[in-house]
């Protein structure tokens, strides 16, 4: 299967003020299959969000290549970078809605700025997608007047407007209560079934998020471990993965080790 995103020997470090260097990605290779859901998990500060920013060209890698449809995003500038970014829809951690625009204007923004559609067409499209995301009737509200879950749904509606081939989700359920979290997961499953996009979810909502995953990547101290399925993580012999499973999912998930 052709990968949607491919990391080739990517290294990213940050230098701290005291002169030490923190390695976030250390010569990392992996690929994200098209049309599937990949979950990137790992502890706080392990560089999950940095990985997404590298994919979007919002941050520069120190070395290596990040290929999207065969084009290297680390070398892309100007128009080429814009075209690469057009393939993505992004749901940011805090939804990143524009405070000064209403719900309608937020969702209409990519259509107004990036397409030549008429105002009537935009109104129809935005109205339809607001209905899909159960936001009808909230068009004239400002982001500050919405609950966290609603803001995420507006963010998702906005990200989906240009029908992206790849959706990136940065901690989509942070700050939401369990009911809302469940609702967002259902929404993911539904929209992906409808649109068939490649999705990359960065999350620490383990193990719940694994229900959505076709592939899981665990980020730990600059290294990445790729697993074909969530179950495969539990069978890993690597001590740091076993430790990860134990701390995030509890002892019960390691019962097979006892059986062995």
């Amino acid at each position: 299967m052709t990968p949607a995103i491919e990391f080739k020997s990517v290294t990213k470090t940050f230098s701290k003020r005291d002169g030490t260097v923190q390695s976030v990605l250390d010569d990392v290779d992996f690929s994200i299959p098209a049309g599937k859901t990949t979950v990137i998990a790992g502890g706080s500060g392990q560089g999950k969000s940095v990985t997404l920013k590298l994919v979007l060209g919002l941050m520069q890698a120190d070395s290596g290549q990040i290929l999207i449809d065969g084009k290297d995003v680390t070398r892309a500038r100007g128009r080429v970078l814009e075209e690469l970014r057009m393939q993505f829809g992004v749901l940011f951690q805090g939804a990143a809605l524009f405070d000064s625009l209403t719900v309608f204007e937020n969702v209409a923004l990519p259509l107004r700025e990036r397409t030549r559609k008429t105002e009537a067409q935009i109104k129809e499209m935005v109205g339809y997608s607001l209905e899909q995301f159960e936001l009808a009737g909230h068009e004239e509200k400002y982001p500050a007047q919405l609950s966290g879950g609603m803001q995420k749904r507006v963010g998702l509606a906005r990200a989906m407007q240009l029908e992206p081939a790849i959706m990136l989700f940065d901690e989509p359920t942070t700050g939401l209560d369990p009911v809302m979290t469940q609702e967002i997961y259902h929404l993911f499953a539904r929209t992906q079934a409808n649109f068939g996009f490649t999705s990359v979810i960065v999350s620490h909502d383990i193990p719940k998020i694994f229900n959505l995953a076709d592939q899981v990547i665990i980020l730990d101290n600059g290294k990445m471990d790729v697993f074909g399925s969530p179950e495969a993580i539990q069978w890993s012999e690597k001590p740091h993965i076993q430790e990860f499973v134990k701390t995030t999912m509890g002892d019960i998930y390691q019962s097979h080790l006892v059986e062995k």
Partner: protein, 263 residues
């Protein structure tokens, strides 16, 4: 590991150079946005309304009180030499060449510049600017260039308003309260203020406008890259303070430089 003095000095030098380079590229991108279509006329008008119309009241009160103080002080000083007739000339020259542009710029920095810095800072930390980038919408063309243009249009006009209101304030204090001859107040002004003086005031107000908008929007845009700013809401408040202080100092330094070169 603690760095030694030389290493820290070099580190600071590198940081300052990087920061200056970043700000220079920021300025070029903002100015390039003027020539990129589509033009955002509505946003430009909104910004002009915010910076220009919104600052009118504060400019009016600053100007009238400055003019009146100048009228009283001028009268007091000039009457010692029996030269009260020169009051109009003294008030108008001081306002047109110096106080008008400088005080307008300082007031606009406090009112509109700080707001622009905080707005961009919040947009940056809440990932709104990243979101624009991800939608392949150029943040410069979208909302930074309109701020530049609005400031370049508003500050010279506000300076003109400041001058007129200030001269009227001087008239109220000098003529109305202290009894200076109204004819000599205006005649003195007409005789001494030349086109060159007015031109100097206009040049200053354009330069100050550019300094304010460049520093304030630039600091807000790069809020996460500024050393010692911290994180989150605290970083925005610190960087806004820094932007206002930097703008104010630059206005005063450039005021001297422009006067020294063009007078």
């Amino acid at each position: 590991m603690e760095k030694n003095f030389l290493a820290r000095l070099g580190d600071s030098g590198l940081y300052i150079l990087t920061d200056l380079g970043r700000m220079a590229i920021f300025l070029l991108k903002a100015l390039r946005g003027v020539f990129r279509r589509p033009f955002r006329l509505k946003e430009l008008l909104r910004q002009i309304h915010f910076t220009g119309v919104g600052s009118l009241a504060v400019i009016f009160f600053t100007a009238i009180s400055t003019g009146m103080v100048l009228g009283l002080q001028g009268y007091y000083s000039l009457s010692k030499f029996g030269a009260e007739g020169m009051l109009g000339s003294a008030v108008s020259l001081t306002l047109v060449m110096e106080l008008g542009p400088v005080l307008t710029a300082l007031m606009v920095t406090g009112r509109a510049g700080s707001a622009m810095c905080a707005e961009l800072g919040i947009m940056r930390i809440s990932e709104q600017i990243d979101a624009l980038d991800c939608m392949a919408i150029d943040p410069f063309r979208y909302f930074i260039t309109p701020k530049f243009l609005a400031m370049l249009v508003s500050v010279p006009l506000l300076t003109a308003v400041f001058d007129v209101v200030g001269i009227t304030g001087g008239y109220i204090a000098g003529v109305g309260l202290m009894g200076v001859n109204p004819g000599s107040y205006f005649a003195g002004m007409q005789n001494s203020v030349t086109n060159h003086d007015i031109w100097l005031g206009i040049v200053k107000s354009f330069v100050f406008a550019l300094l304010i908008v460049w520093i304030c929007t630039g600091r807000g845009y790069f809020v996460q890259m500024i050393r010692g700013a911290g994180f989150g809401a605290e970083s925005v408040s610190r960087v806004t303070t820094q932007a206002v202080v930097l703008s104010s100092i630059s206005i005063l330094v450039f005021d001297y430089l422009i006067t020294a070169v063009l007078l």
